[in-house]
């Protein structure tokens, strides 16, 4: 499996977050839920990293039935604005999808709705500008 070739991809929004050793407001971020998260590595936060995580992030409240994928599982995330793709392994629980139900961002006619994945700065910057904030994405497993 790899970019854009799995049978049942998820579509939504992606953002980025810092973890591990960091500066500024991120200075106390820590190693994430899996204890291995590092801003300089290609990693991600996934709302269904465990059943307990799922109960916090509640993507089902926005109509998303996301697969359970624990620490170390590798996703392939495609920026639907430019087609660039990066692999990222699960290192944290998040984002809190239910807090942003219905949120949508578009590039022209290509839109992503609901926040489904957060990437580390190194992973996000491999496929988009960090200043983009939120972008529509495709997630393959």
């Amino acid at each position: 499996m790899g970019c854009s070739n799995s049978a049942s991809p998820a579509y939504g929004e992606m953002s980025w977050f810092c973890c591990g050793a960091a500066w500024g407001p991120c200075g106390s971020a820590g190693g994430g839920a899996c204890g291995t998260c590092n801003s300089g590595s290609h990693q991600c936060a996934w709302p269904h990293a465990s059943d307990a995580c799922y109960n916090i992030t509640q993507p089902y409240a926005c109509g998303h039935n996301l697969a359970l994928r624990g620490c170390g599982h590798v996703f392939y995330v495609t920026n639907r604005c430019n087609g660039s793709c990066v692999s990222a392994s699960v290192a944290d629980c998040g984002p809190n999808t239910h807090q942003f139900c219905g949120e949508s961002h578009c590039c022209g006619s290509t839109c992503g709705t609901d926040r489904l994945i957060d990437l580390t700065p190194s992973a996000f910057s491999a496929i988009a500008s960090l200043s983009s904030g939120l972008l529509p994405c495709r997630i393959d497993s």
Binding site: G20, C71, G72, C93, H105, S125
Partner: protein, 203 residues
């Protein structure tokens, strides 16, 4: 839940110590032992991206940035005429200061320097909850830490759900969850707000 540190809660959730699942071992782990879910082992080693760097600028020598990574690794980052630089706005090299934090992406050269394609200076991306709104500022809670978000006239914008970006911040409400992109101020620890993505009101 509001009183709990979100990061600790999420950590304990995955580690199975939040009262929702039983504890398990550290490392690549099966995070759902209480639910008899199969272990999901790592399929790829976690490695640092050689073409990426982060840290605080400790010196500037010509067009070379000397950066101390948050993990104490030293980076030399070469800025060229083709390097795009963001510091709240798209900007130029003369806006970059010693003490700034940064993320950089480029190409690692044979001598170990990073030839930068992009620099994002002091940029932060955080999920927060709005705790107070004043004239020109927002008080934000991020993992139980208060952050002062400064509204920058002509720059700070809001996005409400699926609506286009707007300069109208009047629909922001105390209690609302939000995600912010902004530029950290090293001298005051405040954040100049670029974009506030407004979510739901906590209930």
């Amino acid at each position: 839940m509001d009183a709990m540190d979100r990061r600790r809660l999420l950590t304990s959730a995955v580690l199975g110590t939040a009262g929702l699942a039983t504890a398990t071992a550290l490392g690549p782990l099966s995070p759902e032992p209480a639910h008899a879910s199969p272990a999901l082992p790592a399929t790829e080693p976690v490695v640092e991206d050689p073409n990426f760097a982060e840290g605080r600028i400790t010196g500037i020598s010509g067009t070379m940035l000397l950066v101390t990574g948050s993990d104490t690794v030293l980076h030399r980052i070469r800025v060229t005429n083709g390097t795009s630089i963001w510091k709240l706005y798209p900007t130029t090299f003369d806006a970059v200061d010693v003490g700034d934090g940064l993320y950089a992406r480029g190409v690692r050269m044979a001598d170990g320097t990073l030839a930068a394609d992009s620099l994002w200076v002091n940029i932060v991306s955080m999920s927060v909850q709005i705790t107070a709104i004043g004239n020109g500022w927002l008080h934000l809670d991020h993992d139980n830490k208060r952050i002062v978000g400064r509204v920058v006239p002509g720059r700070t914008a809001a996005v409400y759900r699926d609506a286009p970006t707007t300069g109208d911040l009047s629909k922001l409400r105390v209690g609302r969850h939000a995600h912010i992109i902004g530029a950290w101020r090293p001298d005051t620890n405040e954040v100049d707000l670029a974009t506030v993505y407004a979510g739901t009101v906590a209930g």
